[in-house]
């Protein structure tokens, strides 16, 4: 039996990219800004989102797509803020892909000029691999996780347009070295802004909101 070697050159992210591109088109037509919030389970993504929505008041309308493996807990929390929200369940997958986000976004009751936040499945690795059509990825790292995470998970910190250091009210109880953490972020992504935020005290939330508004398409 002879063998033959055939050159193909076929892009493998094509399917996901196709849906991400359709989402970008949809966002453009409806003048929406979409952010992709990525961080570990328990890093405070949902609480941060609640804070941002409350801080925004009438400055901007938010709507939310909540990504989780199971349960509608997070969407129930966000729904109490009286903003449009959908829960996306991945059935075991560790990240959101562009197709699911695209369909959910089209069903979401967004208003023109508003900001859609997609809270990805809690995970520092896989979500960073998948473009879902967002304008910016935001990496959320809580100070209880250790300052070296930017070096351990470089893809996310390289790809993101902002880093949030959350739970800073806990710093007095921890040995977390903020300056060291900022330097690790700089080594991976020199120009990315870093926001120190406490959802408990509200410190840093306004600065983060101002940045979010600056991303607007």
């Amino acid at each position: 039996m002879a063998t033959s070697n055939v050159r193909v050159y076929r892009d493998l992210m094509g399917e996901n990219e196709k849906w991400a591109a359709q989402t970008r088109e949809f966002l453009g037509a409806k003048k929406l800004t979409m952010l992709n919030l990525i961080g570990s389970p328990g890093s405070g993504k949902t609480t941060l989102l609640e804070c941002l929505v409350q801080e925004a008041g009438d400055r901007v309308r938010f709507s939310v797509l909540e990504g989780d493996v199971e349960t509608t807990h997070d969407a129930e929390r966000i729904a109490r803020l009286d903003i449009p929200v959908s829960q996306l369940l991945t059935n075991g997958a560790c990240h959101l892909e562009a197709k699911l986000v695209h369909y959910a976004l089209k069903d979401l009751a967004t208003s023109e000029g508003s900001v859609v936040v997609v809270e990805n499945v809690g995970n520092l690795v896989c979500p960073a691999e998948f473009d879902i059509g967002e304008h910016a990825k935001i990496a959320v790292l809580s100070v209880t996780e250790g300052e070296d995470k930017p070096l351990k998970y470089p893809l996310l910190f390289r790809e993101c347009k902002a880093v949030v250091l959350s739970k800073t009210d806990l710093l007095p109880h921890l040995r977390f070295d903020i300056a060291q953490c900022r330097d690790y972020v700089r080594q991976v992504n020199a120009s990315v802004p870093v926001f120190e935020v406490s959802a408990m005290s509200g410190a840093g939330v306004r600065e983060l909101l101002n940045w979010v508004l600056s991303v607007r398409a």
Binding site: Y9, S86, C94, C126
Partner: protein
């Protein structure tokens, strides 16, 4: 009232339903592409031996996970029994400050000469099916 969308598993085989690794998602694309490419070939090859995929180092792909995913996902397909070969491309960058060009060793993305972070990553994002090694009838 909360709407919710559940990921459709219609396109996933029951063997992989609920397996939580991004390698599986990426590998689904590889298998689909390889099957389609093999079916397009005329004359149709007897079998696929090897699929070679080029992967940039920026993708966090673990070869063992990918090979396991490939083995599971190709079962009951026309390319069952074939092997997956990964060819990794290093991350190369160009410094916008001093003009240095060279390879970057993650996780640090700084210029190899002046240590500036203002660099442009030029390779490392690749992810494509490059070659298929197929068995053909020797008499043809």
């Amino acid at each position: 009232m909360i709407f919710f969308n559940r990921c459709s598993t219609g396109s996933r085989s029951s063997a992989t339903k609920g397996i939580a690794m991004h390698e599986f998602s990426i590998c689904e694309g590889i298998v689909k592409a390889a099957v389609e490419e093999v079916e397009k070939m005329t004359p149709r090859p007897k079998a696929l031996r090897l699929a070679r995929v080029v992967v940039g180092r920026l993708h966090a792909i673990v070869p063992d996970n990918m090979e396991m995913a490939y083995e599971v996902l190709t079962r009951d397909t026309p390319i069952a029994g074939s092997k997956l070969e990964l060819e990794f491309v290093p991350i190369a960058a160009k410094c916008k400050v001093c003009g240095w060009e060279g390879s970057i060793e993650p996780p640090v993305f700084l210029c190899g000469s002046c240590l500036s972070g203002d660099i442009e990553v030029v390779t490392g994002r690749e992810l494509y099916l490059a070659n298929l090694e197929v068995e053909v009838d020797g008499n043809e």
